[in-house]
């Protein structure tokens, strides 16, 4: 790019030299002035707290007790890893992420294939489909709670399960008075899928539109079946974008499941939908105020998220590099 400017190198060089005294700030000064405010804020509000909570995770400390943090080394971590309930909460989170991301990929891909060729009003329809993803998860959770209500909610009527003798209560994990395992979790997953399938669709769609026509033309000349074309052209071409979608949704599902669950069930019934974010919130704030232990849980979550986002960034760079 820069070489194009230098078509008259001598004149441009001399004129910049002449103007130099009038410039008040050098490029380097401007660069530092532009970057540092943002970096300082990030360090103060994000990086420093991380180190602070790393320290706290090795201590016994409560934010409401008037005692200094007491160093207990790895005891917090040992307790968390030996606590069976903790494993249960982590596995609930894992299930939640697995179900919702898996479904979103399948449905999002399918939807993208359907919407691939634009038709009259397809832009409008696409935007309509995208609305849920722009909403506040906690507010969404709340109005889905109304929709799921066993007596006056619309959900049971829509799926034809409104028989008052055999009530279906999704959020209480009950059907006809019997407890059905994971029903409440599926209820939350369904809302997450409703919100985020359009996102996956949009990503896949942008991948599909980027596939060059000549690949299909060549395949058609070879009289390849459409099944073959799908497996050998379409799928490999959108795989990088699908991977990005998987990673993005995995991280977001871990982050945002808190909002959704708090809006819908608060972790209930019992601990059936208690994702790890809710556990952390309860340990750190509600009633317990076990700051040291909460910091340790936070670090366990952090390590998982960092591992996932590392893979994500790597793929991102790879894809950007190919552009």
């Amino acid at each position: 790019m820069t070489s194009e400017v230098g078509f008259e190198p001598e004149t441009s060089a001399t004129s910049t030299q002449q103007k130099k005294p009038r410039r008040t700030l050098s490029d380097k000064a401007i660069r530092n002035l532009f970057i540092w405010p943002a970096l300082i804020l990030l360090i103060a509000i994000n990086i420093f707290p991380l180190f602070y909570s790393l320290f706290l995770s090795f201590t016994d400390y409560s934010a409401i007790a008037n005692q200094a943090p007491e160093w207990i080394a790895f005891e917090n971590f040992g307790r968390i890893l030996n606590d069976e309930r903790m494993w249960e909460f982590f596995s609930t989170t894992g299930k939640y992420v697995l179900y919702s991301v898996g479904l979103q990929m399948l449905l999002g891909f399918g939807l993208a294939m359907l919407i691939r060729e634009s038709f009259l009003g397809s832009g409008f329809i696409t935007t309509l489909i995208l609305i849920p993803m722009m909403l506040s998860p906690v507010v969404v959770g709340l109005f889905w709670k109304l929709i799921y209500n066993p007596s006056f909610g619309f959900f049971n009527y829509m799926i034809g399960m409104a028989d008052p003798n055999r009530p279906l209560d999704m959020l209480a994990s009950r059907f006809a008075g019997e407890v059905v395992n994971d029903l409440a979790l599926w209820a939350v997953v369904l809302v997450d899928v409703w919100m985020w399938t359009p996102f996956v669709m949009l990503l896949v769609l942008s991948g599909l539109k980027a596939i060059p026509d000549y690949l299909y033309e060549a395949a058609a000349i070879d009289r390849a079946s459409s099944w073959f074309q799908f497996w050998r052209i379409t799928l490999p071409q959108v795989t990088p974008l699908l991977l990005i979608a998987v990673l993005f949704r995995t991280i977001e599902a871990m982050n945002k499941s808190f909002d959704l669950v708090m809006g819908m069930t608060g972790g209930g019934p019992g601990t059936a939908t208690e994702v790890i974010g809710v556990t952390l919130f309860r340990t750190a704030f509600q009633g317990q105020w076990r700051t040291g232990r909460a910091s340790a849980i936070a670090y366990v979550i952090l390590i998982i998220v960092i591992a996932i986002s590392n893979i994500y960034i790597r793929y991102l760079n790879k894809i950007r590099g190919e552009e």
């Binding site: 400017v5 441009s12 103007k19 009038r22 008040t24 700030l25 490029d27 380097k28 401007i30 660069r31 532009f34 970057i35 405010p37 943002a38 970096l39 103060a44 509000i45 994000n46 420093f48 707290p49 991380l50 909570s53 359907l114 832009g123 329809i125 696409t126 935007t127 489909i129 849920p132 722009m134 909403l135 506040s136 906690v138 507010v139 959770g141 709340l142 109304l146 007596s151 619309f154 009527y157 990503l203 942008s206 033309e217 058609a220 459409s226 074309q229 982050n255 808190f258 909002d259 708090m262 809006g263 974010g277 952390l280 919130f281 750190a284 704030f285 936070a298 979550i301 998220v305 960034i313």
Partner: protein, 332 residues
Amino acid sequence: MASFEESGPSTPVTEGIRVDKVSPRSRRLKRIRSLVVVLIALIGLIPVAVMVITAFKSRTEVVAVPPRLIFEPTLEGFVFLLTERSQMAPAILEEAKQNAGELGLFDRIALNAGQQITGPSDFVRRLRNSLIIAGGSTIFTVALGLFAAYAFSRFEVPGKGDLMFLILSTRMLPAVVVAVPLFLMFRQLNLYDTHLGMIILYTVFNLSLTTWLLKGFMDEIPKEYEEAAMVDGYSRWQAFYKIVIPQASTGIAATTVFAFIFAWNEYALALMMTSETARTAPPAIATMQGRGGIEWSAIAAGTLAFLIPVIIVAFALRKHLLRGVTFGAIRQ
């Protein structure tokens, strides 16, 4: 490809072979396809429609079994959402009903439910807090993001890739994870439950988004524009605000809206870092059902008030939507 062009295909490529072009059969398929998509979109919008309907139902209509689609619309939900009311004694109620003609719309609706408006509700303050905090933080985060994005886009920055990664990685942190130490810090600094504290928090929270998005938009503006301007005697600063900012205005507008929506929707940090003075609308909507029975119509009205700006924005931004939610990674 070159050899293909030279020799050409052995058989003529007709409509029947070219899968990417329209044949009568694929035209019919396309029509079915578009119908299916419209159907899916409609099904997907049912929950939103239910919410809109519920916002206009009266208290008794909401809990009707089975749920009704046809009913007499009322603004009761909005009145309940925005006002604090007290129950009226029967005698006073009769008297008030006779003078109903002189009352305002809100008073009359409350009167129908046998209640008297005593003042604005908490929710009005929550909405105001949301506006102040989301608005304030958006201004700061876009300004800071603009500067940082320009520097990253135009200058050699040592360790650029790592720094950009660091900035992005702050966004990957679950809010609950940083909330614990932040809570302690903010308490020490007397920033807990203050507007300023929340503005700072959301500014930083959105900084990664604005920096990444704006850098993407600025990368698209040719460097040559500024270089030409600087040859003509502009300083670097002048080139930045007289050339780059106007050129990037669409991108800046999109980024601003995204930052605003994220701050406007944020729940976890607001829940943990505020209690009363600076509490925003999302945690307030979530706890609304705790007080005096669940007033679903009020909740639906609150949700609708929250939803409308977002829907408008979704349409305004549809070209940039994907870019916004993937931090500029994917350009449509």
